[in-house]
């Protein structure tokens, strides 16, 4: 039951949000050019990191906006929240 600081609404219960998995996996611009292997990599293969992961969240029961967070998946501590399109924090 962690709290997520929605960049648009402020701090809310995690249950208001929907998780969207690993962030920064860009949908290929030219899917037809990809091999089956490359397409599978985009479609299914995930880092599934134990540690600090950049991930997508959606404030589904709030503003409906998507944004990114950096969260330590080993203890659910959230490091930062940043908007879509922004680069992930270096640290």
């Amino acid at each position: 039951m962690f709290l997520i600081n929605c960049p648009f609404c402020g701090e809310r219960e995690q249950s208001e949000f929907k998780a969207g998995g690993e962030a920064h996996i860009e949908r290929p611009k030219q899917p037809t050019e990809l091999s089956d292997d490359e397409w599978a990599e985009f479609l299914f293969m995930r880092k599934n990191i134990k540690g600090v992961q950049f991930e997508r969240w959606n404030h589904a029961h709030g503003c409906r906006k998507w944004f990114n967070i950096a969260r330590d998946t080993s203890n659910d501590q959230i490091k930062t929240v940043y908007k879509m399109g922004e680069k992930p924090p270096v640290e």
Binding site: P28, P31, T32, N58, N75
Partner: protein, 1003 residues
């Protein structure tokens, strides 16, 4: 007549208010303020229950929520019955009925007691080693094992009580209103912080509130008096909310805690009507202070489980707080000074103490001198080696401990007693701290685990932090709370403390005996009957981790979750294995701290509140017209409308026929509706649907199929171009929310460059679909101003219009294959427009139909239902809907996946029509389809997805998916049922009006 062991009134017990209650069918009396345990003890009842495995007689051992033994069934055979209630927690009320558990025929004579005799062949883990022969017999053995296991009995009726949830947000939550908790609450609230103080007991002050000893003083006042003044002061503070009978059950991350506030369990049953029984507090605290105290440890020696053996602190509490003696001839057995405080309390009331047995050889405290002055025998350097008495302790024997404490020496001395108080020192109650993710450290001095690293903004104070003396508690509480709350000033200056005890302790986890260990029963977990020798056996067999030992011996797995014995288990493991405590793990304490009633967790979310019910604006009409309903997601949809004695089949046949021959009307309001606007709306639709949208003219409608990125059909529906940059999309009923979520996802994260805005408008419109050859006549009457001619208003187009003054949209789209109009109007007018359609349609036999008829009608036309005819493994190609997959578009969601090596195979499962050899025979939906039943194993080619008897075709029709079905037209296949095989022929999935002439039916 049983004895009365109540010696003196006390602050807590109201002797003017007598309460009668029943225990094992016998009536007893107690007073308001008593717990069931104190009231039973006052009546000299110690034997309360039987243990889990050996069915040994057990009594009251503690005076709190850590009680392992005295657990009873409340109100057996009533709707308010409750198993496994701790007698030490439940407050008595007039009419309380309690009975012993896990015994038959009675607690006094329990057949299961035979297990105690068989115990030599029932060591830890015995069931893993036997009951394996003969092979088929396990379930027979298991029947008896299950019968003898379990404790109380589950209720058999629904719960008459109500529960609720409450959210609380506070600056500081303080858990536990003992000495340190009260001090912390005062500091916090006086500094302007919104503070919540909770305690599981019905009174404040913890164990200090009944500490009336002359030997224990704060600032020259008896500690209980000092604390009483503090309590009086804080009860007036505005910032402070105090909740008693409130037990914190769980401490989750981010300072989210669950607490149960008990509101009626102490009231007579007839006063509970319409009251909330428990309130689950969902607390989000900025800061949490745990002041949860400590739990006294028992000592581990042979037969340490007899009724009459209690923790020494429990004996003190019963005498000081309830005015009850636990026996008339007491012995105390200790390894530290705690028992001497108990002894002083007994001495002050003139209750006999036969002896004090102390593991320590040297004892130096004011209390021990004082007791010796009172001629109390103290056996120094001794240990108890055995106890006597079956249903109540009547004596014990002691021997001297060797220097190293590993052996007993000398002669055995027998002593008589009817009550034995034991003290093995204290274990800080760190359960909530570890639940929150806190890490512990082990303090060698007194062998305790104390908080080390806090995972959130929290603090532990008082004895749960390892501050076990009055001096440490007072001084450290002030210091650490000041720092934690950033407080400069408090009312507390310095403390002048007088205490009768010193901290010395001689810790021996497993006390030696003159018998070999294998002959002893030294209980570590009282409830589950796990003994020291069981733990040693587990270690001998290679189980080393504490978690292994726990699971193998069931230590700590009872309803008390090992609050008394877990430390001893760890101690015995480390002693036996020669390792440091903690090296084999500390057990993890899992929520809840004390068991939490399911009803409390669920709160009001029962019955009709289990899940939201979504009803259409026309719902009441359906109800009034005898509709049966189907749950579709959270929606209630009219399923069919039976007349008089019709069954579903008859109703559906009638409705289907009417819709094709005359007119039908369907409430389609539940379909998802998404309003799409923006200059890139067309491009957006191009990307999300498989077909092309740019060229769709304003005012036209188009069917679209949406895929997942893995190429499988996800949703479908008709989308209408309302304007240049404005569309309205319809989705399936169940898929609406997911579709919107998915579209938002792509829009915001993959295609932020698109100028598109999405809004869900499902609930904003009622949708009424009128179909059938007379549909045009009916809607023309409902909307006389609109030109319904086929030229002006052809199939797959829409019109903005008005019904009276009310704007509405009319789409000419069809899911039945009939000429069909769909009126979309602001929800609150839905019902009156529906009624208007019914009125105007009366002459044309307009017939309301439900989802079942809708399914039948569309199946006649071979239209799919996503989720019924597809199952997330179907591509549009599999559905024989190649026509809807644009070859020209560069990309759309899922396109690339359609060209993977498996998805391009031409023998995938494909949608086909199926006709039975016997036209009257209707296939079962879900039935499997095969070609050859002689092969073994039988190869399944697919299954029947939709199947109906078509009254319009006078035959049975079905849709199904079949491997390579596209090429099987006309081929014979078999549907193998349990009792017969049904022959079918593969057919084209469009059974009716393949040319689509009915869409423009002219009558």
């Amino acid at each position: 007549m049983s004895k009365n062991l109540r010696f003196k009134s006390s602050k807590l017990v109201d002797e003017t208010y007598r309460v009668s209650f029943k225990f094992n069918d016998k009536t007893y009396y107690g007073y308001k303020g008593d717990t069931l345990a104190s009231a039973l003890l006052a009546n000299d009842v110690h034997l309360v229950g039987r243990s889990f495995k050996y069915h040994r007689p057990r009594g009251i051992m503690t005076a709190g929520s850590e009680e392992p033994n005295a657990i009873i069934q409340l109100h057996d055979n009533t709707s308010r019955t409750e198993p496994n209630v701790r007698a030490t927690e439940i407050e008595i009320y007039e009419g309380l009925v309690a009975s012993s558990q896990n015994c038959w025929p009675s607690v006094n004579f329990d057949i299961g007691g035979i297990n105690n005799i068989l115990s030599p062949i029932l060591p830890a883990g015995f069931y893993y080693k036997t009951f394996m022969w003969p092979k088929s017999f396990w379930e027979k053995y298991e029947y008896f094992i299950r019968k003898s296991a379990g404790l109380g009995k589950s209720p058999k009726e629904a719960d008459p009580d109500i529960y609720e949830h409450k959210y609380i947000h506070c600056d500081v939550l303080i858990i536990g209103a003992g000495l340190s908790g009260i001090m912390a609450a005062k500091m916090s609230a006086k500094n302007g912080l919104k503070t919540l103080l909770v305690d599981e007991k019905s009174f404040l002050g913890g164990s200090t509130i009944y500490d009336n000893s002359e030997f224990s003083k704060i600032n020259n006042q008896i500690t209980s008096s000092w604390l009483e003044k503090e309590i009086n002061e804080i009860s007036k503070l505005e910032n402070l909310e105090i909740k008693t009978r409130t037990s914190v059950a769980a401490f989750h991350g981010y300072n989210f805690l669950l607490a149960r506030e008990n509101l009626t369990d102490h009231l007579p049953i007839n006063q509970r009507e319409n009251k909330i029984r428990h309130r689950l507090l969902k607390i989000r605290a900025k800061k949490v202070i745990s002041a949860t105290g400590a739990i006294e440890r028992p000592l581990i020696f042979d037969n340490n489980d007899r009724p009459g053996i209690l923790l020494s602190s429990a004996i003190k509490k019963y005498i000081d707080l309830y005015g009850i003696a636990c026996g008339e001839n007491n012995i105390l057995f200790t390894n530290n000074d705690t028992a001497y405080e108990t002894a002083m309390s007994l001495v002050q009331r003139g209750i006999k103490i036969n002896a004090i047995i102390d593991n320590r050889e040297e004892i130096e405290s004011k209390l021990s001198y004082e007791l010796e002055k009172n001629n109390i025998r103290i056996f120094k350097g001794y240990t108890v080696v055995d106890t006597y008495g079956y249903k109540r302790i009547n004596g014990l024997s002691i021997m001297q401990l060797s220097k190293d404490g590993q052996k007993v020496i000398g002669k055995k001395i027998k002593l008589s007693c009817d009550s034995l108080g034991v003290s093995g020192g204290w274990t800080p109650a760190v359960h909530l701290f570890t639940q929150s993710g806190g890490k512990l450290k082990f303090r060698e001095d007194d062998q305790v685990f104390i908080p080390n690293k806090y995972p959130s903004d929290q603090l532990s104070i008082g004895s749960c932090n390892g501050d076990l003396s009055l001096e440490d508690i007072t001084t450290n509480t002030v210091l650490s709370v000041k720092k934690f709350l950033n407080i400069n000033k408090t009312d507390y200056k310095t403390f002048e403390i007088i205490t009768g005890i010193n901290k010395s302790k001689r810790n021996i986890w497993l006390l030696p005996s003159d018998k070999i260990l294998g002959k002893t029963k030294s209980f570590v977990d009282y409830q589950n009957d796990a003994t020291a020798k069981d733990i040693k056996l587990a270690l001998r067999e290679g189980f080393r981790s504490i978690e292994h030992v726990k699971r193998y011996t069931t230590t700590g797995m009872g309803t008390d979750q090992g609050k008394l014995g877990n430390m001893h288990a760890l101690g015995i493991i480390s002693e036996t294995a020669g390792t440091k405590i903690g090296e084999h793990g500390t057990t993890t304490f899992r929520p809840p701290y004390t068991p939490l009633t399911f009803g409390t967790i669920v709160g009001r979310n029962v019955g009709e509140f289990f899940d939201i019910i979504r009803r259409t604006p026309i719902h009441d009409w359906h109800v009034a017209n005898n509709a049966k309903f189907e749950n579709v997601g959270q929606w209630k949809r009219a399923w069919y409308y039976p007349k008089e004695n019709e069954n579903m089949h008859q109703a559906v046949q009638r409705e289907s026929k009417a819709a094709r021959d005359y007119a039908g009307i369907l409430d389609a309001s539940t379909l998802g509706k998404i309003d799409i606007q923006g200059t890139d709306a067309s491009e957006f639709l191009n990307r999300v649907y498989t077909n092309a949208w740019s060229k769709l003219a304003i005012g036209k409608c188009r069917y679209g199929l949406m895929l997942n990125e893995d190429g499988m059909v996800y949703d479908d529906g008709v989308t209408t171009r309302l304007d240049e940059n404005h569309y309205i999309m319809t989705t399936t009923t169940g898929g609406a929310a997911n579709v919107l979520g998915k579209l938002e996802d792509y829009l915001q994260t993959e295609w932020p460059e698109l100028d598109v805005y999405l809004s869900s408008v499902t609930d904003h419109y009622a949708t009424i679909s009128v179909c059938g050859p007379h549909s045009k006549k009916i809607v023309s009457k409902v909307i006389p101003d609109l030109d319904f001619s086929d030229e002006k208003f052809p199939h797959m187009s829409f019109k903005n219009t008005k019904i009276g003054q009310i704007k509405c949209r009319v789409m000419r789209i069809s899911f039945t294959g009939e000429q069909s109009y769909e009126i979309n109007i602001q929800s609150n007018y839905g019902k009156s427009v529906w009624e208007k359609c019914m009125e105007e349609g009366k002459d044309f036999n307009i017939t309301p139909y439900g989802t079942e008829t809708m399914h039948l009608l569309r199946a006649e036309k071979g239209f799919i239902i996503v989720g019924q005819d597809t199952d997330a493994t179907m591509t549009p190609i599999d559905l024989q809907m190649d026509w809807i997959v644009s070859k020209k578009k560069y990309d759309f969601i899922g396109k690339r996946s359609l060209y993977r090596s498996d998805t391009i195979k031409d023998d995938r499962k494909q949608l086909v029509g199926l006709l039975t050899e016997n036209p009257k025979e209707v296939l079962e939906e879900g039935a499997q389809i095969v070609a050859d039943i002689t092969k073994s194993p039988i190869e399944m080619l697919g299954h029947v997805t939709s199947s109906y008897y078509s009254p319009n075709l006078n035959k049975s029709i079905a849709l199904g998916v079949v491997k390579g079905g596209k090429k099987m037209l006309g081929q014979k296949l078999i549907i193998p049922m349990e009792n017969k095989n049904i022959n079918v022929t593969v057919a084209h999935p469009v059974f009716l009006d393949e040319e689509g002439e009915r869409l423009n039916a002219k009558l």
